[in-house]
């Protein structure tokens, strides 16, 4: 029987067959899943956000739901609603789409802040409270939310504190020339999605999440993470440095990355690999700086000493 780790790399390979030339993003998304966080994908329409999430849902074997956010959406549209059942003469709860293992939220910034925060609360707590009753969400619970940052009219951009709820933010970008050609010649990826085998199941994913927690972390790497955080707090180009939660997120993701790299110990290389998706959306450039998050991360990577 193949081990969990072998199944994991098989799953990655399968997604790679569908989403061509995006190995790094696939690994990042996988990392986010194993670290137990949620993923925000920020990109133009039509570069494969949906394909990524569908492929993910297929190979991980998780229960999959998809919600398209619109501006008239209400919290109950996501969380669920109690409906009066005339037969039993009682209110009966109809769970919303959030009651699933794998949720794709399209265009999260189209919904009103009220709806957004209902979702984000569910994401953070792992449970839903409606009408005075608390219901746990299934495990594992993984959300991929997408947003289109370039056309913001009629949207409610996520505030910084909400962005912080996403463990990682990635963008897919255009595929390279070779992959795109292969894609154009190879036919519709949506069709290929249907043929994807499920390589993992929810129990395996939970076991892998446990494995992430067991990755060995030596103090020299922790010091490196601390130096990164300290740098972000001191640098003049950064308005607010990374929070302690961001530091924990960094460590968690780096450990998941190490596992994905096939190691049971953490290297500064892992921290560096996940720093941009973990930190870029949490860094607020100073008012007089015209650097964006990615540039600030690049600066941190270049200037913070890896070795003590």
């Amino acid at each position: 029987m193949p081990s969990d780790l072998e199944q994991l790399s098989a799953a990655r390979a399968e997604i790679g067959n569908v989403l061509l030339g995006k190995d790094r993003q696939i690994q990042q998304a996988m990392c986010c899943l194993l670290a137990g966080g949620h993923l925000l994908v920020e990109d133009l329409p039509g570069v494969g956000k949906t394909t990524l999430s569908q492929a993910f849902a297929a190979v991980t074997g998780l229960a999959y739901r998809r919600v398209q956010f619109t501006s008239d959406m209400l919290p109950s549209d996501i969380l669920g609603v109690s409906v009066f059942d005339r037969n039993s003469n009682a209110f009966h709860f109809h769970p919303g789409p959030v009651f699933t293992q794998f949720l794709l939220v399209d265009e999260i910034n189209r919904a009103s802040p009220k709806t957004q925060s209902a979702l984000l609360e569910a994401m953070a707590e792992g449970r839903v409270t409606t009408e005075g009753e608390t219901r746990s969400l299934p495990k594992p619970f993984f959300v991929i939310a997408t947003q289109n940052p370039w056309f913001q009219s009629g949207t409610f951009p996520l505030p910084e504190s909400q962005l912080d709820r996403f463990l990682m933010r990635i963008s897919l970008g255009y595929p390279d020339e070779r992959s795109e050609r292969q894609l154009l010649e190879g036919g519709d990826p949506r069709e290929m999605l249907t043929t994807l085998p499920s390589c993992l199941d929810d129990a395996q994913i939970q076991r892998l999440q446990e494995l992430v927690k067991q990755v060995e972390v030596r103090s020299s790497v922790v010091s490196y993470i601390q130096r990164l955080i300290a740098f972000s707090r001191q640098d003049a180009e950064i308005a607010f440095g990374l929070s302690t939660r961001a530091g924990l997120a960094l460590l968690q993701c780096a450990k998941a990355w190490a596992l994905l790299e096939g190691r049971d110990y953490l290297l500064p290389d892992d921290v560096q690999a996940v720093l941009e998706p973990v930190a870029a959306h949490r860094l607020q450039p100073a008012a007089d700086s015209n650097a964006d998050g990615a540039e600030l991360v690049a600066k941190m990577l270049a200037q913070v000493s890896v070795l003590a």
Binding site: R218, L301, S305
Partner: protein, 649 residues
């Protein structure tokens, strides 16, 4: 407020005492009592028995101490009251020490007090004392920051710090620009010690002769010392007489005649005067001194243009055999003047000689004969003389020291019509056989006469030598040591023992070398040393060099403070190996790890850019990673085995 521990306070007070105590000969003795009282007071404060003095009490203390210093010295503008004020301030400051940095300040002031001592004492024996003082202060500084008192460790560290400071000290000693004093402050005691003054009464030199202090040292070039009878160190020529005292002819000093040309075999020697205020210089006639700040003042005297202070060294060329023929009518007239009508009997005797002997040389011989044939007594304790002092000396008491003989002789000669003058200086000197130089003490002070003989010029006549020939042949102290009381209580009385004399002379030669090589290292010698070291150096270049070399230790300290990588690598052997290997690799390939570059990333880059080193460096990096980032006990030994760069062809 950071409380200071009791041992630290104890050390602070001891360091303070160590800094102050060697100044005891300079400062008033009651200051030691003040120190004791303040120390006890502060100790009571530290042990929380008493509280800090109020502002009123402090003002009172200041007023009392300032008044005490004034009563002691009666003046402010001299070095000694100033140093006393400093010491008192350092002592009283203790009553204000509340925080650790106050203690620190007092200890820094102690360094200044230590340095102040060198204003008064520059002999080599001051150096070991200063080293002990510095050790005490350094240890006290450490005690401020030590959790537990560790005396041995503190002293050891202090010694280490001193040794580390030594190269910098030597460097600064060699190259730091010697800047002249911004103002000069004559030392009151220094003036009293110079001995000679520019006027002479009977009894002055006898008093000076009891002073065992060193006046100057002379080193003759070639090591050839002149015979004792030639060692007449001329200082001042006293030409004016006012019936009680002989004084310098100040008018004559205003002119600057050209120095007499030297004819004959020259003898060159270096005179080193002991510290003090020097208004005139000593030399053997006929002398010539080539120095910008020293001028010729006529009558074969050499004077500084302005009084020179401190230790003074000058080079003299002398022709001992050259006749001294410098004389004008005015000079001869002046040297015949005998104003007043005191001592009529002596004048009468001289007139009798003048009538009897037409040749001045015969009159001189007659006077010397008179001294020899009458029962004169050469003594340090002559009787006090009244108004007709020459008469009383020549015909009644007949007890006198050299100035009595020389003064009376000049009096007689002038009365007899022979131009003559009184010369004061030193005669003789002690030969230091260890290093072959001459030591001249204050006790060698002497007065003699010079008479003008038309055929031969100025002639030195020493009437003392007719009365007491041993004075010139053996020197003052050996001749007089038989006499009661002479230097009886001073260390010089040890001269009677040969071994003691040898030790004393040996120590003096050490001190002389110290004076020569350390104390006299002035800007002239400095530029000499520097130009021989680096060939022609300007002050500007020297300063630049100084800045660079002074900045280097600072830069090192800054590096140690600001480069945590360097500090950490000292703690962790794996990191040290890695950094060392990276440095070696950088020397061979020029590849350097960027700060943000991980070990693996750098190893990959080395693989791309310097493939011949890659196999070794990949293995080394992997061992280092295992060492640093996971629990692998074998990795360190692997790392050590791989630490030398290896090239693969």
């Amino acid at each position: 407020m950071t409380r200071t521990s009791a041992p630290a306070v104890m050390w602070l007070l001891l360091a303070q005492l160590a800094a102050i105590a060697p100044l005891a000969p300079t400062i008033p003795i009651w200051m030691v009592l003040v120190w004791g009282a303040v120390a006890w007071w502060y100790w009571r404060i530290v042990t929380a028995a008493w509280s800090f003095p109020s502002a009123l009490v402090k003002v009172g203390l200041v007023v009392f101490s300032v008044a005490g210093i004034y009563l002691q010295y009666r003046q402010w503008l001299a070095l000694e009251p100033m140093v006393a004020t400093l010491v008192l301030a350092v002592i009283l400051k203790v009553l204000e020490l509340k925080q650790r940095r106050d203690h620190w300040l007092v200890l820094l002031l102690c360094y200044f007090v230590v340095a102040c001592r060198f204003l008064f004492e520059q002999q080599i024996n001051a150096v070991p004392v200063a080293v002990l003082q510095l050790l005490a202060i350094l240890a006290a500084q450490q005690m401020l920051y030590r959790e537990k008192p560790a005396i041995a460790a503190s002293v050891r560290l202090s010694a280490l710090m001193l040794i580390q400071a030594l190269p910098l000290m030597l460097f600064l000693f060699l190259v730091f620009p010697r800047i002249g004093p911004l103002w000069s402050m004559p030392l009151p005691s220094a003036k009293a010690q110079t001995g000679m003054s520019d006027e002479l009464r009977f009894g002055d030199i006898a008093e000076l002769s009891q002073n065992a202090a060193l006046a100057f040292r002379v080193r003759f070039e070639g090591g050839q010392l002149p015979p004792p009878s030639q060692r007449y160190w001329r200082g001042l020529v006293l030409e004016n007489y006012d019936s009680q005292r002989w004084t310098v002819n100040r008018m004559g000093r205003l002119t600057t005649p050209p120095p007499p040309p030297l004819q004959g075999e020259r003898q060159r020697y270096v005179v080193t005067l002991e510290p003090g205020a020097h208004e005139w210089l000593y030399s053997l006639p006929v002398a010539r001194v080539n120095r910008d700040d020293i001028r010729y003042a006529g009558a074969y005297q050499w004077l500084p243009k302005a009084p020179l202070t401190g230790r003074l060294q000058y080079v003299v060329d002398s022709v001992l055999t050259q006749p001294r023929t410098e004389a004008s009518n005015r000079v001869l007239q002046r040297n015949l003047r005998l104003p007043g009508n005191d001592s009529p009997r002596a004048r009468e005797l001289a007139l009798q000689w003048a009538r009897q002997y037409p040749d001045p040389a015969d009159r001189v011989a007659a006077a010397l004969r008179y001294f020899r044939d009458s029962p004169f007594d050469y003594t340090l304790k002559p009787a006090l003389l009244g108004r007709d002092n020459v008469d009383e000396f020549l015909f009644e008491s007949r007890q006198g020291f050299c100035e009595h003989y020389a003064g009376s002789f000049v009096f007689l000669m002038r009365a007899a019509g022979v131009p003559s003058r009184l010369v004061v200086g030193y005669q003789g000197g002690e030969v230091n056989t260890t290093d072959n130089y001459l030591l001249v003490h204050q006790s060698d002070a002497h007065a003699w006469a010079e008479v003008w003989l038309p055929a031969r010029g100025w002639q030195r006549i020493d009437p003392t030598s007719t009365v007491a020939p041993d004075r010139v042949a053996l020197g003052a102290d050996s001749m007089l040591s038989a006499q009661q009381g002479f230097l009886g209580k001073s260390p010089l009385s040890l001269r009677r023992f040969d071994w003691a004399r040898d030790i004393r002379l040996y120590l003096d030669s050490v001190n002389y070398a110290w004076a020569n090589w350390v104390l006299n290292y002035d800007s002239e010698r400095q530029s000499g040393v520097l130009s021989s070291l680096m060939g022609g150096i300007s002050v500007k270049r020297m300063l630049v060099g100084l800045l660079i070399f002074g900045a280097l230790p600072m830069a090192l300290v800054a590096l140690m403070m600001f480069k945590p990588a360097w500090r950490a690598s000292r703690r962790e052997p794996a990191l040290r190996y890695y950094h060392t290997a990276c440095r070696r690799l950088a020397r061979r390939t020029g590849l350097r790890r960027e700060p943000g570059e991980t070990v693996a990333a750098f190893s990959r880059r080395v693989g791309e850019q310097a493939p011949e080193w890659a196999p070794w460096f990949a293995a080394f990096s992997s061992a280092f990673e295992r060492c640093q980032y996971r629990r692998d006990s074998d990795a360190l030994s692997q790392l050590r085995a791989l630490k030398r760069p290896k090239k693969t062809q």
